[in-house]
């Protein structure tokens, strides 16, 4: 079953208000990449940044909609 990329994007945006989020299909509809820039990442280690993103879509990982999720995180551009 292909994941609903827009739904995943809004799940992450809801969990991280102010974040800029892009969810990409890297193959087959269930190997995805989330590219997230969020102010909440400030001061966190990379793994903790990834934990926040993953937690936002955990229900879709648990139900098998997402098979593999790659995550790229950054702080929002200054200004």
């Amino acid at each position: 079953m292909a994941a609903d990329l827009a739904e995943l994007q809004s799940m992450i945006e809801d969990a991280l208000p102010g974040a800029s989020v892009e969810v990409l299909d890297e193959g087959g509809g269930d190997h995805l990449r989330a590219v997230v820039a969020a102010p909440q990442f400030d001061g966190l280690t990379t793994i903790d940044q990834h934990r926040l993103v993953r937690a936002a879509v955990q229900t879709r990982m648990d139900d098998g909609t997402i098979h593999a999720l790659s995550i790229t995180t950054s702080l929002p551009a200054a200004g």
Binding site: E26, G27, T46, I47, A68, T72
Partner: protein, 139 residues
């Protein structure tokens, strides 16, 4: 001893994993072995550790995948493999390890010298081609 009466003293998988993490300064949970990785992501992390020339312990998770998923979930809130632990803390899986390798942060964390720029190393943010990238098999 496996009698039920000893169950109070039997270390659980989680306790064993905690011990392993505490005892090994650099510990990689991976699918397969460094000599014969069974997963493209595990292979990439092995390649990076070898490139850095650091000593590390590796644990093949395949013989006990589900119990180890549970254990690392409990310990580090992380259930997919590979997982690299350094000095008792989870650094990350393949994505994060590659990112930190490219930035030089991993060499710093491991206390080794960063190798000269490698044209084969992925640039930060570089993505594998979607069609030919390694496939992570999940239960």
């Amino acid at each position: 001893m496996n009698e039920s009466g000893t169950s109070g003293n039997e270390p659980t998988v989680t306790e064993k994993v905690r011990e392993l993490i505490a005892e090994n300064e650099v510990l990689l949970f991976m699918k397969g072995t460094p000599e014969a990785p069974q997963c493209g992501f595990s292979m990439r992390v092995v390649g990076i550790l070898d490139q850095l020339g650091t000593d590390y312990a590796a644990l093949d998770v395949l013989p006990a995948l589900d119990p180890l998923r549970e254990a690392t979930g409990e310990i580090a809130d992380w259930r997919t493999f590979p997982q690299l632990y350094v000095k008792g803390n989870l650094v990350g899986g393949c994505d994060i390890v590659e990112e930190m390798y490219a930035s030089g942060d991993l060499a710093g964390l491991l206390g080794v010298e960063a190798p000269p720029p490698n044209p084969d190393a992925p640039a930060p943010g570089a993505m594998p081609p979607a069609s030919s990238g390694p496939i992570q098999i999940e239960e």
